[in-house]
Amino acid sequence: MYNGGKILIGIIVFLLFAAFPFYNNIGKVSAKPEPKLDTPVIQQLAEKKCVEPKEFMKAEHMQMLNDWRDAAIREGKRIYVNSEGKIFNISLQNTCMNCHSNKKEFCDKCHAYAAVKPYCWTCHIEPKEKRS
């Protein structure tokens, strides 16, 4: 093999460089995101339930928001009947954020952790929050 030594050194340097994010983060644990639910509106609820069960909302809220969007805008259907038969007004600003008025402590917690940047808030107005 011509220049075997140089090639091997090159490969090692490349691997060290490419694997930098892995060994740099070994042993460091970032805190698990814990979205907060203690808003005044949620505290007042007799039954602390979202439009669908918690586990479903955790996994599927993005799909659900898309379905809400299409139903409200494209089909003009602005009422959502959930799996228990309860009725909700379809609106991100007026329904979702009415309860979850703590966007920074709720939405942003997981979104920042997962490094996703949903562009809801370029148009939809986020609730006013006291900076804590």
Partner: protein
């Protein structure tokens, strides 16, 4: 033990059914299918919403301002402060600009300088809908030419297609230019086209459009296919014109013109 052809086919058939059933049962979307979407109870129904602008009732600058402000305030329409970036849902302009080709130099002075309230015509045959490459703008069942801004890619074909200049492009981020945002309604973002929606969010609650409510009877709104509607009565009792009806877009906004002083030769 070897398996013969018949048994193999039976087994293959059963496995396919089993896999299909397992997939259907294990899908997480089940709850979404158990739920359903309905229209609001108070929703006002129509086959084609239409508006009649009684221009005789617009006299002072205040009459125009209150109608325009009512709309722009609740819909978070930004005030960009310069004509190039202007965003408007409802505005006013002269006869010559509103009805080009209809003017003449000998028409009554009052009419020549009269301002006309202009807005999206919610055409029955809307060219903006035809050209939209993403179907972001579309025709609703009740005749409203609606936009799904989530889908708008800002290509501005609709602006080129609309003969009425009813569409505005957000050349800049509109957020800082909305003075008192209405927290119940979204704003828009840079790079999308917007226009009047005939207040479909208010119709869903059983309310008349904001401009109609603020106009004190100068704007008449209703279903043009309904013989007993206010718009049909206004159209039956007055001579009305539409903007550029010769283009065949079939606008749904009609104008009752002023007859200054009536017939002076009579």
């Amino acid at each position: 033990m070897s398996i013969d052809r018949r048994d193999f086919l039976k087994l293959a058939g059963l496995s396919t059914v089993g896999i299909g059933a397992g997939w259907v049962l294990s899908r997480p979307g089940d709850l979404l299918e158990a739920s359903q979407f309905l229209q609001t109870k108070g929703l006002l129904h129509a086959k084609q919403w239409a508006m009649v602008v009684d221009i005789r009732k617009f006299k002072t600058a205040e009459d125009y301002k209150k109608v325009i402000d009512a709309c722009h305030r609740i819909h978070n329409v930004p005030d960009m402060g310069n004509p190039k970036d202007e965003v408007k849902w409802i505005w006013s302009d002269s006869f010559e600009h509103a009805f080009p080709g209809q003017e003449s130099e000998y028409m009554p002075e009052e009419m020549k300088h009269k301002q006309f309230v202009l807005l999206c015509n919610h055409c029955e045959n809307p060219p903006c809908v035809r050209v939209c490459p993403t179907k972001a703008t579309f025709k609703r069942k009740d005749g409203i030419t609606m936009q799904d801004l989530h889908r708008c890619i800002g290509c501005r074909y609709c602006m080129a297609a609309c003969p009425f200049g009813a569409r505005s492009f957000n050349y800049r981020d509109p957020r800082p230019f909305v003075k008192e945002p209405n927290a119940e309604y979204p704003t828009r973002m840079i790079g999308v086209v917007e226009k009047c929606t005939f207040c479909e969010e208010r119709l869903a609650k059983g309310l008349m459009p904001a401009c109609v409510e603020a106009s004190n009877g100068a704007l008449i709104f209703g279903d043009i296919t309904d013989l007993d509607s206010e718009v049909r009565k206004a159209l039956a009792n007055n001579y009305t014109i539409r903007r550029k009806s010769e283009l065949g877009t079939r606008p749904s906004v009609y104008y009752i013109l002023d007859i200054p002083g009536g017939d002076r030769n009579a």
